[in-house]
Symmetry: D3
Subunit: 203 residues, 6 copies
């Protein structure tokens, strides 16, 4: 049993930059770590879980928080694989990303030295990727809302709107399409904030 | 209902440095964010929960992950209050830290705009502070193990052992005193890694 | 006599970020050190002293420069205590900040190992806090003018005006209320520069 | 013809971190850019070319410098693909890396809007990858020597030898196996420097 | 023969900031290294060479790439000498910059331990400074185009146009005055990009 | 009268790196600003003044603090001119540095728009450069002690002793040769701290 591998994986995420932002032109000193993003996804997932429950939806909070915590863990090994370069492979691109991350994930899970733990974590990861259960949908929505909030942060540091406009629109669309109702509610809160200060206006 | 306040609080943690490390002589560019630390605490808490369950202990994973996610949220408002300066106030120091964080917390919880959410989050925070339930003890142990792993990171970047020696010993002691058995198991894994590479030796 | 404590305190200020800027949304890599700010306060205090003397006001330059050099020294121990979080304590907040800084200060002064030095530095610190003598008022005005200049710096790096607008207005007001006439003169110079470049316009 | 795409690709390399160093535990603020590395490879390639010529070897310097300048250009699109994660794909890993980079390269070359330019750059890239001509071997050797020099830099900043030991040994081996005689000469210079200062000793 | 000196010089450029940007008000964390700039100059020089050849101009690509690679090497010793401060010396300023860089260059060339290498590199450097051959003019134009592209980068990170306006205009003028036709063609591409996004508009 | 020039000069020092450290191999993210260094020189000068007075020496504290505050102001225009490159000019090197800084200084003083202020500041600067009065000697000693303390800081961040050994020895020698007795006393405090922790040992 070599739990040090799992622990190192966790710690490494503090040092891995979310490379997507570099592609969008953000200066390296303004790029968040994957750990930063994961924390935010956990917190927003928790909020969404509680808002959904208030609306009467049954949500398994343990499953939500497991998925949120683990959802980008493989990036400690694969880094934050930029979607842009996989696009050079055409259709095969996303299949490939999936395969690379899956191999990395098996490696991490394998290091847990326990079939039951390993299976549990892999199941959680698969549930997230399939994005069918309400719990997985909550984490996906939280992941998107974190991106929107981070865009507002970058705007606040002076990055011009045209740099992040496409990502903003595409991410807003994702949240609009989610079946998680509270996420749409949060979205309105976030976009209203955007419109309020003219500087936020993402045209 | 002003959920934007809660969301801003979450996002802000990505920018708040864990100031304790500065006190220990770490260069600002090597200091992790509070969000980095919180993510790691979540992941280690999850691992400890699963290890405890394997040992037959009943653990409410939802409670554990709620506490881990929220445990340092107030620092978005109060920053990472260094224990060292409160020491200048003698006995009143920790009472004061508690009071400041409690006020900040009430402010955050209040912004949720819903008594049920607000009460739930406050209850979670209180459970963590009291440190009586096994769930709270797991989060405290995870918080400590993250500190040990971060010390190993700093050693790996060349920081000399005498800089972090006292913090290492004091944190090891905390984990030794925890009733969470798996945490002691993890501790052995971590300290063994320390001893292996002579460079890690924290004398 | 342990002068190394005093020297370490001095050196530490180079690594302590002015945390107030983080609260205003500034990226950590754009936050100045407390030492940066203190140097600027010294230089502006010196200029104000000479301008006041030209106007015929008697100013003790030694006292001014002592106060300017020492005015934030306690922050090596307490860090830059954010006013925002003390506000959660209501009225008690500023009394508390005062008390914490006073204890830290006693600790530093005590380390000088000489009653006469220690008393002198403490008297200087007290004179600054009371803000009654013209010398103390000069340092306070210099401290404010440095904040205004730093805001212009941030504007020049692209930070939007709404981020720093309240701080700008509140600091301008402070300088307007000072009895130090040359400070008002400097203020006009600074705000004119602000208006000139439309980009500086702090609306 | 859209030469702005080519120019943007060039400029972007200044912002792309050499992610391999992150995998080796290097702090993000100590990681060089891909542009930094490419410049160094150009300069060392030039030196090797001149040393080889002095030995009587015929070298096409233009080809060498073309290859050196362009050899990592595709990383502006693909980032610095870490070998470590491709290893999770087993044998297919390096084939894949090759394929991804090839697609990215076609994209860049295509943007030159001129068949002759595009063909020339692609031929240059292919020559580098095949590593058969003396010109290609010089650039490969220069690429390796830059890695060794960068390891010495990291040692000089305090990174412990065990962090970079495997990479050092593996890279030394690569240079030993090169048919470029002057590279072996440079290698001796570099390793002697390593041995001299006990701190450099890469055990 | 002490080639380690030459190699150290090369590696050092990765750590030397282009100090001119600091003078223009750019934050240190946004300043590129001299190595970053040199790589970009190499790549743009290569492109210009190929475009000129397509137009039927005879260009010695080896000479171009040699000059581009070596053109700022002396800055490892002299740092990036800001033109602004030499202006305090009036007419003597640029003569002085030339002299300082020449001495530094002799030092570097001397360390090559071979008269033929040393002479070759010095000849290349002199050719660049004289700026008479088409090869030298290509490198000068590439150096200027890199500055324009870097200004666009800074605009993209939120730096206001007035900060970089004078440098932009003066550099555009330089490229307009070059006899290298393709450089003017590239210039149009770059300025068009500037006009397109209103944010780029360098007024 | 254009005091904004003087104020801008002051603020700029916060962004100018002490380039000497880069020459010694220090990573840019670990290099202090000139403002950081100046603050520290002010504080140590103040301490030395008070220690000398306790010994019965008459010291004009105003003069000391004026010189300390202003001593590196010209570097806002000239940057921190590295001694190393002036050495390429042989004997003329330091004369030149003097001349460049003098011209820059005249420029700053001239911007004060008042002959009396301008003369006063220039006299202060000249007194510092001549290094004859006890006040000037105190500032020179403080400047050196700050360098020693900064070396200890770098050692604490893992930089190996051989990197800074020559600078350490040469600076220790300077302080040993000063007629300021308290500076020698402080020196012993600093070197004792160095010897205590084996890691500090500057061999």
């Amino acid at each position: 049993m070599n739990l040090i591998t799992f622990l190192s994986t966790v710690i490494t995420l503090k040092r891995i930059p979310r490379s997507g932002w570099i592609t969008h032109g953000v200066s390296l000193s303004d790029v968040e770590s994957v750990a930063d993003h994961t924390f935010s996804t956990c917190a927003i997932s928790l909020l969404l879980t509680d808002l959904e429950r208030k609306r009467g939806v049954r949500v398994n909070a343990e499953q939500v928080l497991r998925m949120a915590t683990l959802h980008d863990l493989a990036e400690a090994l694969t880094f934050d694989i930029s979607k842009s370069y996989l696009s050079y492979l055409g259709e095969r691109g996303s299949a490939l990303k999936h395969e690379i991350e899956h191999s990395a994930w098996k490696n991490i899970a394998g290091s847990l030295g326990s079939a039951s733990l390993s299976d549990g974590y892999t199941r959680s990861q698969r549930q997230y990727k399939r994005n069918v259960t309400v719990e997985a949908q909550i984490v996906h929505a939280a992941d998107s809302i974190d991106i929107l909030l981070q865009i507002l942060e970058l705007r606040r540091r002076g990055y011009p709107s045209y740099l992040v406009k496409d990502l903003w629109n595409e991410t807003v669309k994702k949240v609009r399409d989610t079946p998680v109702r509270s996420a749409k509610h949060l979205l309105r809160t976030v976009t209203r904030r955007g419109r309020k200060a003219a500087l936020y206006s993402i045209k």
